[in-house]
Symmetry: C2
Subunit: 150 residues, 2 copies
């Protein structure tokens, strides 16, 4: 895990991020590498928002992981700011290497630096390995996550 | 439910919002009406962010409900934008009146107007009445929600 860099994703990183999003049992049905334009538009929107942090993990010039951290101010819990982790992916060649842990630890540290009092995420009910992973990192499976497709 | 207005929360609405956040089995342990300063600071931060919508439901000049809607761009799902609902509260005098439904319908419509493809929220595992409420409104309990206190 030497020489690993976790940095903000540039537009040039978008194809590698999309490839990781698609290389996943759920993502395979939802992503398309044929037209990158909507992904690049989303990257531009994220880059312009100071509360959004789309990150890549890079080693030897190769993008091997990604996650998105969103900082969300709020009134609840005495005006607490929370952060939300989305879109965590580790390249298939790198699974089991501890990179997922490194990415989540980065997100937790970044949340703390930005004054967040809570980090949250949801994981599809089918991803039982991911659930054990988050519990090992100290997260509590205290909530039910609801989604409505529009 | 006549003459109900759902509008952006002003600083003057913050005491009524905090009172509703505190009048709740979980909120009672987490909120404090003694010092409104952190809540007012959070309100100012939310008001300055175009992706944040802290709303109140008002009837006859009285604040009777609230929710927070956050618009989150992202790369996943072909660059889909999603929205996240947090801090839904209905005044104790108004429960069972359909106001919760009106608030969520407002959030779903607002999400659609802003081009979101997905609306999501998490609900504490103990709030089983809320879970039935969201499922009646078409939400799927497809995810596990994890939280880490910092």
């Amino acid at each position: 895990m030497e020489d690993l860099e976790i940095r903000a994703a540039a537009a040039e990183d978008v194809p590698a991020i999309v490839a990781m999003l698609a290389d996943d049992p759920l993502g395979a049905r939802r992503e398309s590498l044929e037209d990158l334009a909507p992904y690049l538009a989303a990257h531009a929107r994220l880059s312009a928002d100071p509360n959004q942090h789309l990150m890549v993990a890079v080693r030897a010039g190769r993008v091997i992981g990604t996650l998105q951290l969103t900082v969300v101010p709020g009134l609840s819990r005495k005006g607490a700011t929370r952060s939300i982790i989305e879109g965590v992916r580790v390249h298939s060649d790198e699974r089991g290497s501890g990179l997922g842990t490194r990415l989540i630890e980065w997100a937790v540290d970044a949340s703390r630096r930005q004054g967040c009092q809570l980090v949250q995420l949801t994981s599809d009910a089918s991803r039982t390995d991911a659930h054990r992973f988050y519990e090992r990192l100290g997260f509590a499976a205290s909530h039910v996550g609801f989604k409505l497709q529009l």
